[in-house]
Symmetry: D3
Subunit: 69 residues, 6 copies
């Protein structure tokens, strides 16, 4: 499946923390750069996400903000 | 200002394309890794974004999805 | 690629309207049920979206609201 | 109240799972097509959502992605 | 229609700027406090939004970030 | 840091409710007007949010919908 979301960053799962319904998954996409995703516990199971596995962080362009110092 | 959004990636603006109301800004956050943001033209002006300038891509954790091959 | 987004609705592209930077794509996912997506023109080209083609509307669970009468 | 969100799918609540703060509500919008929404527990109570009740899944166009095989 | 989105701010439309596909609508929700919404041109027409009219800004809780100085 | 998000409402934290992974923070931005944000517990700690403190609700324009009666 090819998706319209413009941003896909390949990385390694470094943390999976399940809550009651919502999980936080951290993916290291470059040395020292970690992306945090808040997804459903259901998705964690469905994708079989585990620490050490390869995964992608995917973000729609309209969900990206820009900041300057 | 310190923001709750969990993801902030520092980079360099490589493209600013204004549309009628919506602009697309691309930030290179690592060699070969470019993030596309869809923001208002108004924000481009307000932040003074220009190609070559330093900027951050900012994303709320609940807007990040995870994918696997 | 398998994605964490919980909602994928299969349908047929019934309209592609490109703007200056942002396109509106409509997908009929059931008889009389049309989903509108606002995506980048770039994505329309990248996915090769054209009227009559098969496509999916994909939505993250945290972007779905519920309403009652 | 009439809302700008372009997508409203009528259906029947098939599941309400409350977490500590966040609930997952599933709505069957067509035979075999179930939409998952991640909303606050507070909203579940405020709308009086219960399994079997009629409800709508509402999504803003800018939160819809498109995918192709 | 009653919606799960937790945030509804009543105000007066102070600006409607249509682009090629995307419009920016500004609503004054308190003296000097103006909210900007990026919605489809189609929604502007469908809701009949015009400067001076009464309207609400509606935001899902998961789309609100918090910042501190 | 200056951010592209068009909407920043200054207020006072009136409630912080942590869940298993996701917290709900309420900010009173005007007399009787309370904004609810759903953010990570991690952000609550990182920003040091406590009831009575000053904070801002920040929302990207593309996450604001408009409604009319």
């Amino acid at each position: 499946m090819k998706i319209s979301a413009r941003n896909t960053l390949k990385g390694k799962v470094v943390s999976v923390e399940k809550g009651a319904t919502t999980a936080h998954v951290k993916i290291e996409v470059a040395d020292g750069t970690v992306i945090t995703a808040s997804i459903t516990n259901e998705s964690v199971d469905s994708l079989g996400l585990t620490v050490g596995g390869q995964a992608y962080a995917v973000v729609k362009a309209s969900d990206v903000m820009i900041a300057v110092d």
